[in-house]
Symmetry: C2
Subunit: 411 residues, 2 copies
Amino acid sequence: MAARGPREFFAVRPVSEALSDFRPARRTGPERVALADALGRIPAEPIVAREPLPGFARATVDGYAVRAADTYGASEGLPAYLDLAGEALMGRPPEIDLRPGGAVVIATGAPLPNGADAVVMVEHTQAATAELIEVLRPAAPGDGVVLADEDAAAGDSLVAPGRPLRAQDIGMLAAAGVDELSVHARPRVTIVSTGDELVPPSTSELEPGQVRDAVGPGLAALTRRAGGAPLAGGIVSDDREALTATLARALPGSDVLVVSAGSSVGARDETAAAVAALGEPGIWCHGLLLKPGKPTLLAEAGDVPVIGLPGNPRSALVVFRLLGVPIVRLVGGCSHPPAEPTTRARLDRHVPSAAGRLDIVQVSVADGVVRPLFGSSSLLSVMTGADGFLCVPEPATGLAEGSEVEVTLYG
Amino acid sequence: MAARGPREFFAVRPVSEALSDFRPARRTGPERVALADALGRIPAEPIVAREPLPGFARATVDGYAVRAADTYGASEGLPAYLDLAGEALMGRPPEIDLRPGGAVVIATGAPLPNGADAVVMVEHTQAATAELIEVLRPAAPGDGVVLADEDAAAGDSLVAPGRPLRAQDIGMLAAAGVDELSVHARPRVTIVSTGDELVPPSTSELEPGQVRDAVGPGLAALTRRAGGAPLAGGIVSDDREALTATLARALPGSDVLVVSAGSSVGARDETAAAVAALGEPGIWCHGLLLKPGKPTLLAEAGDVPVIGLPGNPRSALVVFRLLGVPIVRLVGGCSHPPAEPTTRARLDRHVPSAAGRLDIVQVSVADGVVRPLFGSSSLLSVMTGADGFLCVPEPATGLAEGSEVEVTLYG
């Protein structure tokens, strides 16, 4: 076992500080994608309407296009009588000029005839003769109509910057004729697993003492959820030289570099040394006031954020979800990440915690009751059995049985 | 404009009833995927551990492997003295048999030597001589150890049925050596847009009266979010024969068939007739107590669910999100869909509603204040400008200014 190394020289920080202050400046460049592939992607530049939308005044109800002034004062007792002057055809330019005293049959979505400024709902009319209708209520200009630029005026921004594109954004861009757009490239997240005991997940027969690498695939999945592109950085033994060489080789092709340390203190010190050797500005924190996840390391090598995670699979996933996912999103241009699902429910037992650190507790939730799931942080089953997690804030010494807590649900 | 047709013969139903009672039995069959591509997929069969995990007893702390009985009664004043008997090597089968009175150096994750039943943390020990340590606290059997089958026993189920695979599930499957698995195939969702006014989104120049199809791309995006594979069913004119032919052609290759009706009453009747012509058991409801989204149609043709949506892009997206997404998930084997993010905040104005229908109101949320966004249901901009939506329940006649409401946030 190696002696305790240089880590005492590095700052241990609260999670809140890491979230607010460790904000790498690196952003991925743009790439072009087809609109059909743009769901969840982050626009790399403003997208504005080239033309007004919908582009022409349209009926929003089925009825009659009219001049509103012709219906002034109309009532059931004293209807306005209007001459039928044809039908507005769907999908075709308006062919009729509506003259005063006239009405044109129009369906929802059809273009308003020239001269009309309102559509009277069919329910508010009555046929008088084959060529004459009675309008039973007055219409104001604009009633039953959307204007030519009511969805967007030419030059209007069509989507919010820094936010993943949603279904309605895709619809709006389709309406605007945007069939290809510029989005932030997916951050390349290289994931290196270290540990003399680790073998690839495809290993069918294990020797005693060996374990398959669960951290790499788990972090790759979280990377995908964050909009990143995971790159397999491989499995490295707990050896400073090998690790230093692997990280240095991975750095130039990475937008974010992630290394899960071996679990032992010695291995963690080797990881810190290898990360420090990557270059300036170097290590930002070595240790978080967090359980599980204390031996977390945040660094920058050039403008590439480097995240050193605990070797325990569960600790690694907890920390990466808490800190790595926001970093991957940020590097990918996502300044407004989507919210996570939560629920409020009552704790069925006391959750102990030490003051001064954030505790992340895996929980199951059923019928409004939250049950904390305890067990070694090396056990993944505690997390696969969980519906979500709760946070015991830094100042608290625990959460009382029966108290209402907020649980973040795994999506 | 066609006369009001057969829809009066069909049931108009509340949304809650549609959600609980319209439960198509169709499920997609299995397909094999690599573990790296399995995030969010739904296992098609139980996946069990072939072997115990982690597979050997491991240390969970850095320290000394001991026989717990040898530390009985140890204290700072009266330590237990144990003979150093080597080091447990990481990733290698245990080579040392621990004899009574002995201790073996061990790092987190290393295999417990034969004969040991606990690991004493290094912090609770002290070096006496080069070959002797003092143990300052007693250890109980199992302290500092995970057992060989503590993460999973052979035959244990590794993932929950009917639930999308999460990052920790991927990690657990990797640990268990599952590098390929059987998942439900993505439901093929054919999306047909109807309307004489519609042209493909790639159309660069519009004629007056034409609009680009925003519904198809928007529904395709929602389909992807629901784990489905959208298939472009094309744009069809408001013509019963053409629509009937298109739907009949699409049916055999679809797990779910979606058609957005033209916006006008006549077009909606054509859609209902074309859907009814697809075959038994036919239309389940024609009309929902919902705003926007009243003219929604739910049907089954054979075991294929058919969803008829309003032609307005915004209405179509609202309804498909509310009813189509759960159907796509269900057909894809997802019986436990992930929760959606929500937030609670105060309404900044009164929201009127009619009793007897569910109202879906687009809203923006900022600084704990919810602002309803009003505007024609034909306007997509109301939805692209929204952070989420709120529901005004069927019995309510509105929501009062200042009341706290729950908003479902767009993810």
